[in-house]
């Protein structure tokens, strides 16, 4: 959400801040100051800075979010293979402990920076900024940020990336989008992973998963794939190619893109305020 143009005043709270609103003044004459700043404004400020870094170097930044064990690292391994020689890729890995995931990525000959978050259950813009200090963005086309496996907290933090990719593996329930609405509302694309297991997982219905996603008013594309077996990877890779192309076109037009996290609020107010978010 934007803190500079007043778009934090939503139909839900505008009555409070009008001159006669109940928070405009206090009965005992104490001074009431209206602020309406996002509680995450520190993070959002850093995220805008990170996005500027990515844009300056013509890099597309993708945030991967899912439960632990849904196949984020396997997806990255298969994606690196599929895009070999086409795009230069680097990865920022977020885990509470270990360098295991980063080592899997490095084994593919790709730069991987591991962020060990300790007890923190998500990445934030400051951690990503620190990681960027260890990464040369100049030769890169795509930076993947593999967030901490968690369907709750990562959804609330803008990292300065351009797109959110949310994975839902067939070994989880198909009702995850209904159970974790904040996460799945933020998805720019939802990948149903491990589809090679669908024949033995009778309870998982990809159509139901999509149905629950639509009920979050999310029109994001839904793709099915198996990274491990190399099944149906082409639609995902094509989506990435198109995103790289769009990122380059945006930079020519001096624009940037924000992930879906705060998209609704920004979209809703875009008609009233013309402003760009750097």
């Amino acid at each position: 959400m934007c803190d500079t143009c007043g778009c934090n005043v939503t139909p839900g709270n505008e009555h409070l801040v009008r001159a006669d609103g109940k928070h405009a003044k206090t009965q005992d004459g104490k001074q009431a100051i209206t602020i309406l700043k996002s509680l995450l404004s520190e993070n959002d400020h850093q995220a805008a800075h990170n996005r500027h870094h990515f844009d300056q170097h013509q890099v597309l930044a993708i945030n991967l979010m899912s439960s632990p064990g849904s196949g984020k690292t396997a997806l990255l391994e298969a994606t690196i293979d599929a895009l070999q020689g086409e795009f230069k890729i680097a990865v920022i890995e977020g885990d509470l402990e270990t360098e295991n995931d980063a080592e899997r990525i490095r084994a593919k000959g790709v730069t991987a920076i591991q962020i060990a978050t300790g007890t923190a259950c998500h990445l934030d813009a400051h951690m990503v900024h620190d990681a960027l200090h260890h990464m040369d963005l100049a030769p890169l086309d795509i930076v993947f940020i593999e967030n901490v496996g968690n369907l709750v907290c990562p959804a609330s933090f803008d990292l300065g990336h351009h797109r959110n990719v949310t994975l839902l593996s067939t070994t989880e329930g198909d009702d995850k989008p209904a159970k974790y609405p904040v996460m799945f509302r933020a998805a720019d694309i939802m990948l149903i992973t491990k589809t090679d297991l669908l024949p033995v997982l009778e309870d998982f219905d990809p159509k139901k998963a999509e149905h629950y996603l639509r009920h979050l008013a999310n029109d994001a594309p839904v793709l099915q794939l198996s990274a491990k077996k190399g099944l149906q990877m082409s639609n995902w890779v094509d989506w990435l190619r198109n995103e790289v192309k769009q990122q380059r076109e945006r930079l020519v037009a001096e624009e940037t893109a924000r992930p879906k996290i705060q998209a609704d609020g920004v979209k809703f107010h875009a008609a009233n305020h013309s402003h760009s978010h750097g």
Partner: protein
């Protein structure tokens, strides 16, 4: 949040903070109860020490892109209350805002 509060206190030459109003939408990802527990610990020893935290939960409301109706919705059912279409825009419910401060001068 504390940094924001300290900045407002300094800007307004206040000596303390009476009340902090925070607005939370159910789709923001902020858990009101946890914030309420953390607040007294966070402000201890700061310029806002002793301030009362007031939290307002804002309703989830959507505007339908098909029929234009505005209606209340559930956190995992952001569909139009009028026509049932899922092509809606969230107009309230994802806020996490430091809304206002009552300052002691």
């Amino acid at each position: 949040m504390l940094q924001q509060i300290e900045a407002v206190v300094a800007e307004n030459d206040a000596i303390g903070v009476h009340r902090v109003l925070v607005q939370i939408g159910p789709l923001s990802g902020v858990e009101a109860e946890l914030l309420a527990q953390a607040f007294p610990i966070a402000i201890a020893g700061s310029v806002a020490d002793g301030a009362e935290l007031v939290m307002e939960t804002l309703p989830i409301r959507v505007r339908c892109q098909s029929c234009g109706a505005e209606s209340e919705a559930g956190a995992n059912r952001l569909i139009c209350g009028d026509c049932g279409d899922w092509h809606t825009t969230l107009i309230s419910g994802d806020e996490m805002l430091l809304a206002s401060l009552e300052l002691e001068k």
